[in-house]
């Protein structure tokens, strides 16, 4: 039993680590390309310096993302061989497309990083954009594969074997669109506010610093637009989960009993033993509305899910609250920016806005982690929803605590080094001004 837990922890840490770099790899190239475009159009050296500084960051983060992604593609087999044996041929199509897109991203990045003064300026710029397009595509494909675990499709399960496999139907499963949309926007939010926050911090320290102001002006639009779009995508996801995975929604909302006109809970402490939530603020009927567009409709609670098919409630509920809470904070920051930009119109990046942005720096990434906890823990005990349980797919090898500790050690060291490198990167941008 412990082995199962350590395998799950190892997978969680590996995914949690990789997802940060994947987000950056998907979106940062676009920031870089916009800055590059402005350099091409205006000839302003500041944009050139910004582009080069950002591209170095992309190189470091991409490399870390690439190796942690390689690790994941093996870990699926190292930890969950029974799952991969059955699932590989079914949900392999998005993986093979992801491989292709990732390869394309690596090639485009190579050309981009070493293309300065070697290839025509606009061709060079194009490869920068291509890094982002290929990165985003590979992200979408991987999420489509994950979506299949939530909404298995494209096969018939007979006596523990998959027959009539249809990889195309598997790829375009019921969950792929809502999940891919939510994740892609989340990547823009996390990276957008992450980068904006750091530049805001330096601008706060040194208000005359042109490069940080220009950087902020490039990146803020990505952050603002995606933060305003995300609630719509979140709503689509909630309605989709209500239909397909009622257990996950019930856990996310800590809804122990099936209710008509179900309330939305804000905050609260989950008591899994007593099946209650204490100290929560209840908004009557709102959960019914979010799940089914109707304030009176019934929402399925955990009491309708067999005991051995219920996900852990507390962790999913807390993660969900964190994700939604952060989403709202970032949306308000985005609205405040629009207010200053279009209504106040002068001194847009006033200290208050800069401070709000500083606070936002890590929040998008925390929300991404929390969101994945909701998706993955909320799917438990299933690895393929309704088909195969996680414990039945575990490797027979005992002693899984050791690979787990090794993984934790390596990723801890890497996290420290990468953070330190990023701090150096941003400091050197300031110094050169």
């Amino acid at each position: 039993m412990d082995d199962l837990l350590f395998a799950r922890y190892q997978m969680a840490i590996s995914l949690g680590f990789h997802i940060i770099f994947a987000c950056v790899g998907m979106t940062m190239p676009f920031f870089m390309a916009v800055s590059h475009w402005k350099w091409l159009k205006t000839g302003d050296e500041v944009y050139l310096r910004l582009t080069k500084a950002w591209s170095k960051g992309v190189a470091i983060l991409f490399a870390t993302g690439a190796v942690s992604g390689t690790m994941l593609s093996f870990e699926l087999g190292l930890l969950w061989p029974k799952f991969m044996e059955h699932a590989g041929p079914i949900f392999g199509m998005p993986f093979s497309l992801e491989g292709t897109a990732f390869f394309l991203e690596a090639i485009a990045l190579g050309i981009y990083l070493y293309g300065w003064n070697r290839i025509p300026p606009y061709v060079h710029w194009f490869f920068g954009i291509l890094v982002g397009i290929a990165g985003t595509a590979s992200g979408i494909f991987v999420v489509a594969a994950n979506a299949w675990m939530n909404a298995p499709a494209g096969f018939e399960w007979v006596n523990g074997q998959a027959i009539n496999v249809d990889p195309v139907a598997a790829m375009f499963n019921d969950a792929w669109f809502t999940q891919a949309l939510h994740m892609t926007i989340a990547a823009f939010i996390a990276t957008g506010f992450g980068v904006a926050g750091v530049h805001a911090y330096y601008l706060l320290k040194n208000p005359d610093n042109d490069i940080h102001l220009k950087a902020l002006n490039v990146v803020i639009w990505f952050a603002v637009i995606s933060a305003l779009l995300q609630p719509i995508s979140g709503d689509l996801s909630a309605k989709d989960i209500a239909k397909r995975q009622p257990a996950k929604l019930a856990a996310a909302e800590a809804l122990f009993e099936t209710k008509t006109s179900a309330p939305l809970l804000i905050g609260g402490i989950v008591n899994e033993e007593e099946k209650t939530v204490d100290y929560a603020i209840e908004i009557p009927g709102l959960l019914s509305f979010l799940a089914h567009n109707d304030f009176n409709k019934e929402v399925i609670g955990l009491d309708q899910i067999p005991e051995d098919e219920q996900p852990p409630v507390a962790i999913v509920h807390y993660a969900f609250q964190i994700m939604v809470g952060i989403g709202f904070y970032l949306m308000f920051v985005a609205l405040y920016y629009l207010y200053r930009r279009f209504i106040v119109k002068k001194d847009i990046f006033a200290p208050l806005l800069l401070k709000l942005l500083c606070v936002a720096t890590p929040l998008g990434f925390i929300a991404v982690e929390a969101g994945w906890i909701v998706t993955e823990v909320g799917r438990q005990p299933w690895i393929i929803y309704g088909i195969m349980k996680t414990k039945d797919s575990l490797t027979p090898m005992p002693g899984l605590i050791y690979p787990f500790l090794l993984t934790v050690g390596v990723y801890l060291i890497l996290a420290v080094v990468v953070t330190w490198l990023m701090i150096r990167q941003f400091r050197s941008i300031s110094k050169n001004t």
Binding site: V67, L76, L78, M93, S96, T100, I107, G110
Partner: protein
Amino acid sequence: MIWIVLFFLALSTYLYCLLGGADFGIGVHELFVKSKRKRAHEDIVKEAMGPVWEANHMWLIIVVVILFVGFPKVYAEGSTHLHIPIMLMLIGIIMRGCAFSFRHYDSVEDGSRKYYSLIFSISSLLTPIMLGVIVGALTLGRIQTEPLGYYETYVNPWLNVFSFAVGLFVLSIFTFLAGVFMIGEQSIGAFRLNYIRRAKISHIVMVIMGGLVFLAAELSGLNLAEKFLKNHIALVAIFLATASHGWLWLLFNIKSAWRLRFLTGFQLLMVVVAWFAIMYPNALYYADGSALSLLEHAAPAKTLFMLSLALIIGSVIFLPLLTYLFVVFKRPVKK
């Protein structure tokens, strides 16, 4: 369809060994660079490897994806029984990839550089050895069909003389590949002469290691020589690889390195072909003498069709771009 998939599996394996292999070899060579030359050497390595660094390692991902989509049983069995060496290889891959990028894209240059270089070199030894150990373990036939004790099931299949002999052979091949690649990277100077010497030494080491693999096989109770004698393709491939050694030595000092590179690539191709030939149609051998066949454990036809399609479309897109990448960074920078 299965032939297309098998072709891409072999091709990706070969290209990973060739391109990724040269990358690994550089790390080994760095161990033997005098400290006063170290910095200059690292800059040459960056120029030579930097642009293709990430792309070279994508071939491994393609290999893994083909395995788990096309041959899921093979992937599941391999990763269950060879968990430990695969994990060690992955740690090596992570450390190398990061150390290289950190070293070359860090915005401040200080003492941290030498730690990156150290990690880079150590993991450049670890990874190819583990890669070879995995290949050796698949070939040797000590993988258990039924779970026995921990040691018998998860350690013994790979912790043996033969697997490590293959590991060292792979390491020596990669070191040699890097040597040959680097000769062509500098047309004049001590650097070039230095690498010609290194390529020659690593070539001799590689040939000795190749012989040791056969010896280790005998010691481990695997009649490798007989497998070769019974298989015509493997025999021809290994004959061509061996016969071209003499020609290779004539090419070391010629100014253009392309013929040398081409011949080295050909030798590696023959080694990979020989290995596929003696294994075919199996991917791994068990201790009870049975084997896991690629043909019998392939994914359903529809999956193989989609996989082939993805691989073909992928090649059409990225092969021209890859060529462009290899061409572009060989161009001089306009001042």
